[in-house]
Symmetry: C2
Subunit: 146 residues, 2 copies
DNA sequence: GAATAAATGAGAATTATTCTCATTTATTTT
DNA sequence: AAAATAAATGAGAATAATTCTCATTTATTC
């Protein structure tokens, strides 16, 4: 993953530094939403706290980091690389797990039509959208061990 | 609004106290998403900071407060009373304004169908959902004064 | 490889939120 | 309606999350 991380950085014209490589490697390895705390412990102090925040900010700036909050307002990040499937999130209130969910193409088309109406109605340019779903896993969630 | 606030509190079986009335009045008066900071200045120190957080928590517990975060992760709250229309949010990245948006009934029906599919697929019980839209207002936004 | 510019680490500063506890206020009991 | 009890509040301390500062290190350019 180190090579891929370097590639991503140089492709995006940001300097290739160790902390950036380490953070990218960690994010590439899990490839699913993770809190800053989790990311920090995954990095085992190999990157200073302040640097971690700076690197995450860099990744946001080059548009490969998606940042949002879980229902308890904890910040969560995930890598979104070019070509990755557009997806949404499902939150389990029992165990806190966050699951990537792809909605059907048909539905996304309809959502985009709906968004066009909203743009007109409110005189907005809408660049992005998010669908979040909240509930509880029943028997398949690893964390809950139900 | 004071009477209505008292009514809401007693209806929900929480004791009717001054701070709670004041917070409810403020939320009823604006009836649109507001940050904690904005709410605090609207209340002009008539309610202690710690109490404000406690009261907001109470309102969450009786299920009449919707809490979410704006794209910069600032916590935003809004009152959602019984009978209020289900709605979503549109965020302006220029001025930070948050606009309530109702999607068409037809679309909501389709979204609910889509959600049923997700429930099956992930063995989840989904209780709530949220659609967030991000963009820039063009010429009608008061804050931007474009 | 030297010079320049940018990034980092460590911890201080700031901000948001929660907690503590003595006091006040609301509710219940009489 | 007053006393007793329980709950809520205010003030500020404590904690947590994030940003900032600045001396040092590392990457990039020449």
């Amino acid at each position: 993953m180190e090579e891929k991380s370097k590639q991503i950085l140089s492709d995006n014209k940001v300097s290739v530094t160790n902390p950036r490589i380490l953070v990218l490697e960690a994010l590439l390895e899990i490839k699913s939403p993770i809190t800053i705390d989790e990311l920090q412990s995954k990095l085992k102090n190999k990157v200073a706290k302040s640097t971690l925040y700076r690197v995450l900010n860099d990744l946001k700036n080059i548009n490969i980091l998606n940042e949002f909050t879980s229902p308890d307002n904890t910040v969560v990040v995930e890598l979104v690389l070019e070509g990755d499937q557009h997806h949404h999130h499902l939150f389990c209130s029992d165990c806190g797990e966050i699951i990537d969910v792809e909605l059907s193409q048909n539905f996304e088309d309809l959502l985009n039509k709906e968004i066009k109406k909203i743009e007109k109605k409110f005189n907005f340019i809408i660049e992005d959208h998010r669908v979040e779903m909240f509930g509880q896993c029943t028997d398949q969630c690893e964390n809950c061990k139900k």
